[in-house]
Every structure is written in C-alpha cells, then in structure tokens.
Amino acid sequence: MEAIETLAQQEYKEGWVTDIEMETAPPGLNEDIIRFISAKKKEPEFLLEWRLKAYRHWLTMKEPNWQYMAYPPVDYQDIVYYAAPKNTPEYNSLDEVDPELLATYDKLGIPLEEQKVLAGVAVDAVFDSVSVHTTFKDKLAELGIIFCSFSEAAQEHPDLVEKYLGTVVPYRDNYFATMNSAVFSDGSFCYIPPGVRCPMELSTYFRINTAGTGQFERTLIIADEGSYVSYLEGCTAPMRDENQLHAAVVELVALKDAQIKYSTVQNWYPGDEQGKGGVYNFVTKRGACKGDNSKISWTQVETGSAITWKYPSVILQGDHSIGEFYSVALTRNKQVADTGTKMIHVGKNSRSTVVSKGISAGNGQNVYRGRIQVLKKADGARNYTQCDSMLIGDRCGAHTFPYIDVGNNSASVEHEASTARISEDQLFYCKTRGISTEDAISMIINGFCKEVFQELPMEFAVEAKKLLGISLEGSVG
C-alpha cells in the first residue's frame, strides 16, 4: 500500500494571516467581558440578560467527554472572546473597507464585488467577530427579506430576534452552545417573509484570523410561511501552531410550507501531520420544521478542522414535514470528525433522509453518530439512512454509531451501511488505462460522494470537488 501510505502530506492553502490592526478584548471569560461585548455591539437589554443567564448556567456545566476523540484540555480563560478590525467597523460602501481585508477575501475567492453581483450571490462576511459587509441588502429589502449581521439584527429587528433566538437551540442546550450563547460575537441573521422565494443564494464566509481568538458565531434563519431560502456557509482559518476554537450555533426555523436549504463547505485548518495546531470545531446546528409541510435540508462537506464535533439536526414538528441531511466528511493526518445528525419525528407522516459519506485517509478517524427518534404521535413517520465509509490506506478508521428510538408502530426506519477501501488493484486498473493515482482517487471519491454533491448548489459543488481534490493532492506517492 505504499502508494497510498503517504496520504495527507499536502499543505493547507488558506494558511496565511492578514496583517491588520485589531481591537481585541483581554483574554478570559467573565461577566465583565460579556457586558463589554454586548456594549460594543450596542445590544438591547434583553440580549445582555440572555447572555448572562447562559453564562451563569455554563458555570454549572461540565465539558462533554463522550465523543470519539481525545483533545488536550481547552483553557477557556486563555481565549480572546472579542476581536474586531480596528478601523471603521461599520461600512457604507466597499471603498471604506481596509484594502488588506478585501485582499484577504480576494485570496479566499470571495468576490464581494462585481463578479458576485453577476453570480447573484449575496455575501455576509464575518471576519473574526465583526460582520464586514453585506451585499445586496437593498435588493433583498425590496422583497422584505432581512439579511444582515446578527449584531445589526439585534439593533434593528429586536422583536424578531427576541421571538426566535434560542427557540431551537436553547441556551441550556449543551456545553458549547451555552458558551456560545454567553459570548457569541457575530453571525448572520436572515428572515424571509411569508410567500417569498429568496431569488438568490445567501452566503456567509467565516474566517478566523487573529491569533488565539475563538470564533463564536450565531446564525438565525427564519423562513416564514410558504417561503424558500437557500443558504451557503464557507469557512477557512489561517495556519497556526496553537489550536483555535470554533463554537458556533446555527438555528433554523421553518414555518408552515416553508423550505430552508443550508449548505456548508468547511475547510478550517486541520493541523499538520503530527496533529499540531488546527481548529476545534464544536458546532450546534439545528433546525425546527415548526409548520406542516415544511422542509429543512442540511448539506455539508467537511474537509477541515483538527476536531469536528457537529450534528446538524432537524426537529420535525409539523405534519408531513421533511428533514434531510447530506454529508461528506474527509479526515486525514490526525483529524477527527465526529459528525452525524439527529432527526426527531414529532409530526404525523414526517419524513427524513440521511446520507452520510465518510472518507478517511492517513491516520484520520471518521465517526458517524446518528439518532433517529420517532415520538409516539408521529404516525406514518419514515426515515431512510445510508451511511457509507471509504478508507484510503490502512491506518485510518471509520466508526458508525446509529441510535434508533421508535415510539410508534406505524413508523418505518431503514438503515444501510457500507465500508469500502480504495484498493491497490483499483488504482492499478486505472493506471493501465493511463489514469494517474491522484486522478483515480479523486475520480473514485467524487463517484462515492455523488449523491451529496448533487444536493449542493452548482458553484458550491465545483468548489467542494476541488477542495476534496486539493485535500488529497500530493497525499499519494
């Protein structure tokens, strides 16, 4: 297996640091910091109170240790909870934005400017803790769509924020979500009014830049009755020796007949071959299909992070509501991805589909952890889960932990699983047809992930394929 032994040797391409002056809070977590953050953001009183409640609850909680991973303890007092570019945190036009910052986005390939206008993507870019610029706001506003940074929403639409914040992920939910509730820095907010079909993909890019900062964004998306929105999230972080913490919360609310499609391509710095550095990605993502016939789909392609701990879930409250989860997770080097989903069937005839593709290379460990729960009232609920693993080389691993919990006899729950290994014979076969090992692996991986890529918006699918290609590049001798 020499050819695929050396997998995972390639460099992280987004690993540069942007040199701009930052305003940072002193490290540490206490009530003063929380008040500082809230004041900086000119938040309404209810939000500060909510943060403080969360913080006080967090003090009583213990860090979880049940997941399939070991990581060095995080010193939460050593993290900077607020960092913002010093110059002009509020922008009226792109001209006011620090050119260094724009150059950063250029490098990332996030065209805030004309190209993206043509592409029809509205971008809300979160750089460490402050939302830098939101394009298309006016055009969206005509339709009554609100798409802005979370901070802005807290100031300008406090009623909506107060009504929905914490309704899907309560502040007591889990250790990291509670911490996020206390110190969340910024994030995106999106509201689609009844009957409106959002005409473009809404998109956010997150980037951790400042050394030693944690990123705690909070995203809240509400699709009101009969509306539709497709939302894209992309992430990168510079290469650093110390670990960076990313503890985000995403809450989705779909009311009657509404649809939310949420796609993520995550490429946080995964750490080097020895497992040094890299982002700890502890994320709580959950959607609630509150209304009848509502639908929420999560699609994710995860190639980064040292440790990923993430279970995008759907609570299927409405009758005939639909939850979907499509995931590709790639781990190499010493990466660990513990990911999966929870589908909680409450409404009658609610349906869920789970397709999880785990790819492990090098010493990577891929864990699928899924829970399908059918409550007593959920007559006719149906779930289909397909969980496939692909192993490249023989030092990596894949682990599957499906939990099924059915409380209604008329429900049907199906689970299929498979494990495949890219074999030397397959690679040799490709070579005798003139196809190199790298191209062969990327072809096989793309074939393996096809069902998930199909769910991604076109340009994201192209990016995801490239990302997998890049991540495996040079990894094969």
Binding site: F428, Y429, T432, R433, I435, G447
Partner: protein, 254 residues
C-alpha cells in the same frame, strides 16, 4: 526495431522470482498467443509489463517502442500505447464506464500534447466502438464493472481496448468465462482491432479462441519460462496432448 523486445526478463514478488528469464520479440502486426499450465507465470508477465507495483523486475531488459519500459510509470506505459485486459477486471464503484473512458482518453491525448476530445466527438466514438464490439449501451452508463456478470466484465475489457486503440494489447484470458456466442463476439471484436500497426499478446487456455483469433506465434510458458514456441499448429498439439510432454521435455533437458 521491434515494438516489444523482452530480453532475459526475471522478476516476481518480494524475494521470489516468478518469471525466470523470458525472451520474446513482438513486431507490429503480429499476434502472439501464450499458453501454459495454471501458475506458470502468464499473468505475472502481464503485470510486470504493465507495471503493477507489487511485482518487480530483477533482471533483463524490456524495450517498448524503443524506450526502456522500466523507466516509464504504469500510466506512461498506458499512454505510450500499452494495454492490459485483466484476467479479473476490477470494479470502480460510482464512476461510469463512459466517464472513466473519457478520462483515460483525455490523459492519453494530454500525454501526446493533443487537445482534449469534445463531449460530442467522444459520444460518437463511443457509439461506433460499442457497435464494433457489440456492447450493450447500458453497460457504458453503469459504473465500471460494478455488478457486471463475469462475461460482461470480459467484454468490457475489449470495449476499453477498442476505445483506447493501443499499439500493444496484452489480453489475459479474455476468453475464459464467456459463453459460446460471447466468445465469437469478443473474438470478432479483437479481430476488428488488428491492424498492421499494432500487436497483441493473447494469453489463453483454449485453442478454441485461436480458431477465431489466429495467432502468428504460439508460446508455451512453464515455470516462468517460455519453453516452447511455434506456429498456430502448436496450439492444436497442446489441445490434443496436454502439457505432460512439455514437462517431460523440460525435465529431460535438465
């Protein structure tokens, strides 16, 4: 200069030679049949020529199209025009046969400094070749060899060969596992590919295939060596007498 010149080739797996000194010259326009008992090293020869990493050459030389074969990577050998039809074709799940062949085709064109083939032109080429080897179009759409029957896999190898138009094809028991009709169709497909410019090494156990694909030379392999060579009549003799007399001859020669 011959298309392929093998001189005193030795090689095999770690610490153990399976091929023990082979000489073979193949010219353009020729078909060489290699026969021989199970385990005599026929497939190993094919794998060493095609560059399987598990196998290593330990002595001798091979020149292919006037290049030192062992200086070329397996994919370079393929792009130079060598082709191996597998005794046991491999499944590539999730990758359609047509997509796979187009990727292979484009690699070949790139290697030769030519522009990629357009989707339309490739489609037409595929249609033509499917007819030539009587291939079910459905099999071109399906993932490479996945859930193909044994016979379909073998026919797919010939289909690959037809599309890629190699200069030297090594067909490893492409006739085994085929029903009588399929054997005739595959043989027809092989004959369609025969030109004055290319050559084939056909490994087989059955004289029957050689009724259709008439070889210029027949070689008998035994214990990693070519112990006897002749014209097509040798195949009849083997069919009739088995390999015992070959063994006796070899042992008598010491």
């Amino acid at each position: 200069m011959a298309l392929l010149e093998i001189r005193n080739l030795r090689g095999g797996i770690k610490d153990q030679d399976i091929i023990n000194g082979i000489d073979l010259t193949v010219d353009r326009g020729e078909v060489h049949a290699i026969m021989g008992p199970n385990g005599s090293g026929k497939s190993t020869l094919g794998k060493i020529l095609a560059g399987h990493e598990e196998y290593e050459e330990t002595g001798g030389t091979v020149r292919f199209q006037d290049k030192d074969l062992f200086e070329l990577t397996p994919e370079e050998r393929a792009n130079e025009g060598m082709f191996l039809a597998f005794q046991y074709p491999v499944e590539i799940p999730g990758v359609s046969n047509a997509y796979f062949l187009r990727a292979a085709m484009n690699e070949r064109l790139k290697y030769r400094g030519e522009p990629e083939i357009s989707a339309g032109a490739f489609r037409r080429l595929l249609d033509k070749k499917m007819k030539q080897v009587d291939m079910d179009p459905e099999l071109a759409r399906r993932p490479v060899n996945e859930d193909f029957s044994g016979g379909e896999k073998k026919r797919n190898e010939i289909f690959h060969m037809a599309v890629l138009e190699p200069t030297l094809s090594i067909l490893d028991e492409t006739d085994s596992g085929l029903d009588i009709d399929a054997m005739r169709i595959v043989a027809h497909g092989i004959n369609q590919q025969r030109t004055a410019d290319n050559a084939m090494i056909v490994i087989t156990h059955y004289q029957r295939l050689l009724d259709y694909v008439v070889p210029d030379y027949v070689h008998v392999m035994y214990q990693g060596r070519i112990v006897k060579s002749g014209r097509k009549e040798l195949a009849f003799e083997l069919e009739e007498k088995g390999y015992e007399w070959i063994r006796e001859e070899v042992e008598a020669a010491g």
